[in-house]
Amino acid sequence: MSKSRNNDPFWWSFFGAGGVFSSFFVPIHILLLGLALPLGWVLWPEHGDLLALARNPLARIYLFLLIALSLFHAAHRIRFTLHDLLLAKSIDTPAAFVCYGGAIVGTLCAAMTVWTL
């Protein structure tokens, strides 16, 4: 076993948190935006009202966590799926770099978007 610290528990923490967060909340968004609104079960809100809601500090935090944690969840899962599908250990370091790098870039974009809403 090598001497360097194993960072996998670090990434796994975000994967785990993202799994819990997205499995609770993403279905609500799918139900609302994917079904209830298009099918007319509920009335479309006014753009201004929605924007005001999203600008609430708590809503900003919620949106940021939802997007960022889901990205890290996906990144970790995709990294491991590549490892398992391609049956290659050598792919792991580049895959980790691309997946977590993508999640970090996405998180920064999410932070900026949520901040400047």
Binding site: M1, P9, W12, H83, K89
Partner: protein
């Protein structure tokens, strides 16, 4: 009515031939014969040079694990009738070096097992005079499932991560670590964290779940490893954020 069945055995006799080869044997199709009975018949009646391991013939010792038609199985608990009309292909367990025929080398696994310290590490030394070290039924239930492992190594054959990464401790070793981590008499969790958090530890698992499917004793190593990941991640952050020493209880 079919009277015999073909058993195709992957053979490896290093002193005679450097590469493995397949050999077919025709075996009587007796009702209630396990694959192990067929191998015993071959050894007794057809070919005494065939090498394989077994001991209890009742799914307890864990020494008769082999690949049966490509799937890891205890050959004493796998019946010929399940594979009619045959043939049945028997190979040594995947992901292990082979010593001869169906006999695998388990040394690497034994080494890994030692790493996780699968024994009680009490907080304080106890002597016989201290009397029994008692547990409630609930305390026993917390880890009992993980005591059922018979070290048959089917989970190592089933796990693709074991095949890719020879440093990975593997399903049974981590489940056994958890067997002691969840024992109320044990205080060795910190020592086991050192190994389980490291490269090759529990976080190398990619959650495929084949180990739990292969396990003949329903130990559910997948579940044991996932539970560890939650505990291990907490410990990781403690070690990262708390001052040295405070994280180690």
């Amino acid at each position: 009515m079919q009277k015999t069945i073909t058993i195709q055995v992957k053979r490896y006799i290093p002193e005679k031939q450097p590469t493995p080869f397949y050999q077919d044997y025709e075996v009587p199709l007796e009702t209630k014969w396990g694959v192990l009975d067929a191998l015993t018949y071959i050894k007794d009646e057809l070919d005494g040079t065939l090498a394989f391991r077994w001991s209890c013939h009742m799914g307890v010792c864990g020494s008769c694990g082999m690949m049966v038609n490509g799937q890891p199985a205890l050959t004493c608990a796998t019946f010929l009738e399940e594979y009619l009309p045959g043939p049945i292909c028997i190979e040594p367990l995947d992901h292990f070096p082979v010593i001869r025929d169906l006999v695998i080398d388990t040394d690497a696994f034994m080494g890994k097992l030692k790493y996780v310290k699968p024994w009680l590490i009490p907080a304080e030394e106890r002597s016989v005079d201290d009397g029994e070290n008692r547990q409630t039924p609930a305390e026993l239930a917390a880890f009992k499932q993980y005591t059922l492992c018979i070290n048959c190594l089917l989970c190592y054959s089933a796990c693709p991560v074991v095949g890719l990464n020879e440093d990975f401790l593997g399903p049974a070793a981590i489940a056994l670590a958890q067997r002691y981590n969840y024992d109320s008499r044990d205080a060795g969790q910190t020592q086991r964290h050192d190994v389980l958090l490291d490269h090759g530890g529990a976080f190398d698992c990619t959650l495929i779940g084949e180990c739990s499917r292969a396990c003949p004793k329903h130990v559910d190593p997948t579940g044991a490893i996932q539970r560890y990941k939650a505990d291990g991640a907490m410990e990781f952050w403690k070690r990262l954020l708390l001052p040295r020493g405070a994280a180690k209880r």
